[in-house]
Symmetry: C2
DNA sequence: TGACAATATGCGGATATACGCATATAGTTC
DNA sequence: GAACTATATGCGTATATCCGCATATTGTCA
C-alpha cells in the first residue's frame, strides 16, 4: 500500500526488463504466445534441460511476466500480459533496423518478426 | 551480409533487452526522451558519477540503443529509435498492473508513466 | 503405503555485471 | 607547446547470473 519512490519504480522497471534479457527466457515467452504450456512442453520447445527451464520460469514468474497454474502433476505456465509480446516485438523491430544498417542480410532483418513467430 | 541463425537472433534480441535491465540505463533513456544531451548533463540528470554514466552509455551505444556524436569537447548522446521509449512505457504499463494487483498504492500504479515522464 | 511422473531446488563453477577510484585520451584555447 | 575541460577506460572488488548435475518436493495411481 506504500507509495514507491521514484528510484524504486525504476528499480522494479529494470528488474522487469532484465527478465527479458536472456535468450532462453525470450524463447519461453515466444513459446507461450498462443497457449499455456507445461514445463516439459516448454523445455522441449526451447531445447533446454528441465532444470534450466524450471529456473528460468521461476525468474519470469517472480518478476510477474508469466503465471503458473497447477494441473495435477503438471504446472501450466502462461503469459501474464500479452503486451509483453508487443514490447519484445517492438524491440525486435528496432533491432531489425540496426541489422539492416549494419548490412546484415537485408531481407532477414525484415523477417525477424516472422522468425519469432515460427514457434 | 550473412543470414543470422534463429539462435543468433534470439541472442541479439536478448542483448538488446538486457541493455534495458538496469535502473541507471533506464534513467538515461528517459533523460534522452526530448533531446540529445552531453555526458555531463546526463550524469547530472540521473545523479550518477561521470565514470559510471560513461560506462552505461558505452553499453547502450554498443547495443545500438543510443547514438553518440562528437561536438567539440563534448559528446552528445541521443536515442537511436523512439520506439525504444514506446517499448519501455509498454512494459511500465504492465508493471503498473502488477503493482495494482499486489495492492501497491493504487493511484501510483496508474501514474507510473507520468513518473517516468517527470524528467 | 509404495512406485512413478512432473517440477523445483541445493550446490558448485564459470562468467558477467555494476561500481568507485584513479588515470588516460581527445579536444579546445591560450 | 602548456593548461584546461569533457569523456573514456584500466583495475580491483563485490555481487549476480547461467548452467548442469544430483536430489528434493509435489502430486497421481495402484
Amino acid at each position: 500500500m506504500r507509495k514507491p519512490t521514484r528510484d524504486e519504480v525504476f528499480r522494479l522497471h529494470a528488474q522487469f526488463c532484465k527478465a527479458l534479457g536472456d535468450a532462453n527466457r525470450l524463447l519461453i515467452i515466444v513459446a507461450l504466445r498462443d497457449r499455456a504450456r507445461t514445463v516439459g512442453e516448454i523445455s522441449d520447445a526451447i531445447g533446454a534441460g528441465q532444470s534450466l527451464t524450471s529456473r528460468h520460469l521461476a525468474v519470469l514468474r517472480e518478476k510477474g511476466l508469466v503465471r503458473a497454474e497447477r494441473d495435477g502433476n503438471f504446472v501450466r505456465y502462461s503469459l501474464a500480459d500479452r503486451r509483453i509480446l508487443s514490447a519484445i516485438e517492438l524491440l525486435l523491430d528496432v533491432l531489425a533496423v540496426q541489422l539492416e544498417r549494419q548490412g546484415t542480410h537485408s531481407t532477414v532483418a525484415r523477417r525477424l518478426r516472422s522468425v519469432a513467430r515460427a514457434s
